[in-house]
Structure formats: C-alpha cells, structure tokens
C-alpha cells in the first residue's frame, strides 16, 4: 500500500478509523514518517477526532431517576397464581365426596341403652296423655288417627351388648315384611308399619360387620341411597316428632294423612292446639328427608 497525492486522505482516514491491518498500518506509518508532507497531513487528520467534553454533564439528572417500586403489573400475576393454587386446594379439600368407610362403619354403630330407656319412658307418658285426650273428647277426635293404638305397637327391645356383636334381627320371613328393624339410628326400635322397607335389605347391611369398600355388595349410588333412606328414618322421624310435639301441646288434635297417589308418596301432618294450627308435609327422598 503506497501513499500518493490521490489516495493519502482515504488511507489516512482508514488508518485513523483503525480499518487497516497491522501490516498495512506499519507500512503506512513508515511512509508518513519518511515524508514531511504526509506527516503534516497526518497531524491534521489526527485533530479531526472530536474529543468529548467530559466536564459537560446533564444538569437535571436527578429529576430523571425514578423511585424503585415494584410494578403492580408484575405483582398481580403472582397473586393471581397464588390465589388460583389456594382455590384449587380448597376445592379439593372441601369437595363433597362419597361416604368414607369410617363413616359407613359409624352409621351402623348402636347407641347406648340409656337413650332407649329414656324413649320408653317418654312413650308411656305420651300414650297416657293421648289416652286422656281421646277419652275426654271422643267425638271431637273421630277423624283423627288413634295415636295410642299405633304407639302401643311400638316394641322396645334391649340391644345387644355394646360390642361389635351381630345385632339380633328377626329372621322370620312373615314378620320381616311387617316390621322395621331400625338399627342404624340412635335407638333400637322394632315397630310395625305398612311403609316398612324389606328388612332383608337391612339384614344385608347389618351383616356387614366389617365394612370395607371392596366388600360392599351394592353399587355405590344405590348403597348410598339405601343408607340415606334407612339412616334418615323418615317414618320413625315423623312418629318421633309427632310424639314430641303432641307431648308438649295441650288439647291437641292430630291428623296424619298418607298419600300414595302420584310419583312421590307424601305424609301430611295436621296439628291443632288451642286455636293454633301447624301443618307439615313429608316426602321421602326429597331434600334427603
């Protein structure tokens, strides 16, 4: 690379810019040092590099700074994700599930004998009161159910020992269809009722002393439905509630009207006492009652 009058400016700018190779740089610098004209021109080119005025500073720099605050747009997704996770956990934890094995076992545990004795005492008192009522105003209660008769049919039995022994069940097939063997509630009752379910089903459940999911003979939905029916004890609940209410009322008039028409059977209860009237309607399986 040789310097001449036509190309020296271009080569010197290239040298100044650092675009030449090391070899060319050395070659050009040798020529510049050897030639006075080129040396003078090179000096001038070196002054074309603009030096920054380092003493010149932006005066309002402090106004440009921003306070370091976490942007809410960056925070919101974090809280959103956290809330979603918590919500998911809560849904999993509180999601209504099927009856667990432990709950099923608890359903068939008999209660203590003390409660049965209490109920027996109440029963005698109620029968006595109803008898008194019907004797006082027999004509007035002609249309009503003779509660004393139905209550007489209630037979209390002493439960088995408070162990895991199998609960005695009436095995006679003729009796089985006439009685409800209620062993799933808080009291042991053997009572006659035309609405009584087939006790063979109850028997089937009683025999499951050691319940486990694998041993359940029924489909889960059917089994749960049956257990709900038996444990809710609709007929007995009606009778218990009626008995309690009648027991507390003075001069009550009671009318129980079962209805078997239509799809769902219902039981209407009509109370009248001292000018006050109360009506109730029970429908099995509706709202689990």
């Amino acid at each position: 690379m040789r310097l001449n009058d036509e190309n020296y400016e271009w080569i010197m700018v290239e040298l100044l810019e650092g675009n030449l190779s090391k070899k060319d740089e050395l070659l050009v610098m040798e020529q510049i040092e050897e030639d006075e004209f080129f040396f003078k021109q090179w000096k001038l080119f070196k002054h074309t590099e603009i030096q920054a005025d380092i003493l010149v500073n932006f005066p309002n720099k402090e106004n440009l700074f921003k306070p370091v605050v976490q942007s809410p747009r960056r925070v919101v997704p974090f809280y959103g994700i956290a809330a979603s996770i918590i919500f998911g956990i809560l849904v999993i934890v509180f999601w209504p599930s099927k009856l667990s094995e432990k709950e099923l076992v608890q359903l068939v545990q008999p209660l203590d004998y003390q409660s049965i004795e209490t109920l027996a005492t109440e029963k005698n008192e109620v029968i006595q009161e109803v008898e008194n009522i019907t004797q006082e105003t027999p004509s007035k209660h002609n249309h009503l159910v003779d509660l004393s008769d139905s209550m007489e049919e209630i037979v209390f039995t002493k439960p088995a020992e408070q162990t895991n022994e199998r609960i005695p069940v009436i095995e006679d097939s003729t009796e089985r269809n006439d009685k409800i063997v209620n062993v799933f509630g808080d009291k042991f009752l053997v009572m006659d009722h035309p609405d009584a379910p087939d006790t063979s089903v109850v028997q089937q459940m009683i025999n499951r002393d050691k319940l486990s999911k694998n041993e359940l003979p029924l489909e889960p939905k059917i089994g749960e439905k049956l257990i709900a029916f038996v444990t809710n004890r609709p007929v007995r609940r009606v009778r218990d509630k009626t008995t309690n209410i009648v027991h507390k009322m003075k001069n009550p008039n009671l009318k129980i009207q079962p209805t078997f028409e239509g799809r769902n059977s219902t039981l209407d209860i009509h109370f009248e006492s001292e000018g006050y009237v109360a009506m109730a309607n029970f429908q099995p399986f509706k709202n689990k009652n």
């Binding site: 400016e9 271009w10 700018v13 100044l16 810019e17 003078k40 021109q41 000096k43 001038l44 080119f45 002054h47 074309t48 590099e49 603009i50 030096q51 920054a52 005025d53 003493l55 010149v56 500073n57 932006f58 005066p59 309002n60 720099k61 106004n63 440009l64 700074f65 921003k66 306070p67 370091v68 605050v69 942007s71």
Partner: protein
C-alpha cells in the same frame, strides 16, 4: 427493563447523551429538553426495551428528537455564526475551538456520525442502526466529515503542530 435498570441507564448515559446532543445543536436549553424527552420516552416503553440495547435506543430517540428540533427552529449552525456559541466550557485551546467550528459546519448527518463514532465509539453498524443508514453510508459520511474538518483547520493555517 426494570426501574432499577432504568436508573442505572440514567446514571451511565445521561451525561454522554447530553454531550452528544449539545454538540449537535449547540444549544444547552434545547439539549436539556431533548435528553429529558428521550428518557421520558424510554420510561414509557420501559417494559419493551432490553437493558442491553438501551444505549442505542437512547441515541436513536435523541437523534430523531434533534431532527425534529432542527426542523422546528433550524438550530443547526452555519459557519458564520458558529463561533459565537460553542460551549459553556471555556477551557478549549484555539485548535479545539476551530475543530468545533469545523464540526458545526458539517451537514447534520456527517456531524452526528462523527460524534457517535468519536464520543461513544460506536462501530459503523451501530451508527447505521441509530441513524437508519447502511454501513457503507456511515463510512462514506465519516470520510467526508474528517476530510472537511481537516480541510477547515488547515485552511485557517492553525499550525500548532
């Protein structure tokens, strides 16, 4: 880019950007406004800017701000009135004064190219990105600018060599 990075950016580049603008416009008040607006625009788009490329982004904004400013008030100086306003700095020697005079005589693009090259040490490619030019155009402009400056100081026969 985070707020912290933005503040780092202000610390590192505000002064250099101000020097670049004031050298181009030779107007301190206008230069301050442009730097202010440049960082304001950066703050608005802070989430979309990568901290690694923020310097080039700043100079690009400032360059376009300068173009807008000169279009509004024709601030770029000619050689005739360049000698009156150079800088607030009074420490220039004579040669530096004349180099600055020569610089302000240059066309806008050549002046910006030289300043970006000498002040910030940008390569041709980066300068081209900032000024929307090709590398060849940047190189040609740098050659022309240096020849003109050299011609100016040699014409004035400032032989302080």
């Amino acid at each position: 880019m985070t707020t912290k990075e933005y503040n780092e950016c202000v610390s590192e580049h505000a002064d250099g950007l101000f020097r670049f603008v004031i050298k181009n416009l030779n107007d301190k008040f206008e230069a301050e406004n442009i730097v202010q607006n440049t960082f304001k625009k950066l703050w608005v788009r802070i989430e979309h800017i990568d901290f690694k490329t923020v310097k080039a982004y700043l100079y690009k904004i400032a360059y376009h701000e300068m173009i807008d400013a000169t279009r509004r008030s024709n601030r770029f100086l000619t050689l005739d009135n360049a000698s009156s306003v150079i800088s607030d700095q009074k420490d220039y020697d004579n040669l530096m004064d004349y180099v600055n005079k020569a610089l302000h005589e240059l066309p806008k693009q050549q002046k910006c190219v030289v300043l970006l090259r000498d002040f910030e040490g940008y390569d041709y490619r980066s300068i081209g990105k900032i000024m929307d030019m090709t590398e060849s155009q940047v190189k040609v402009n740098i050659h022309r600018a240096r020849k003109k400056i050299k011609a100016y100081i040699s014409k004035l026969e400032l032989m302080i060599l």
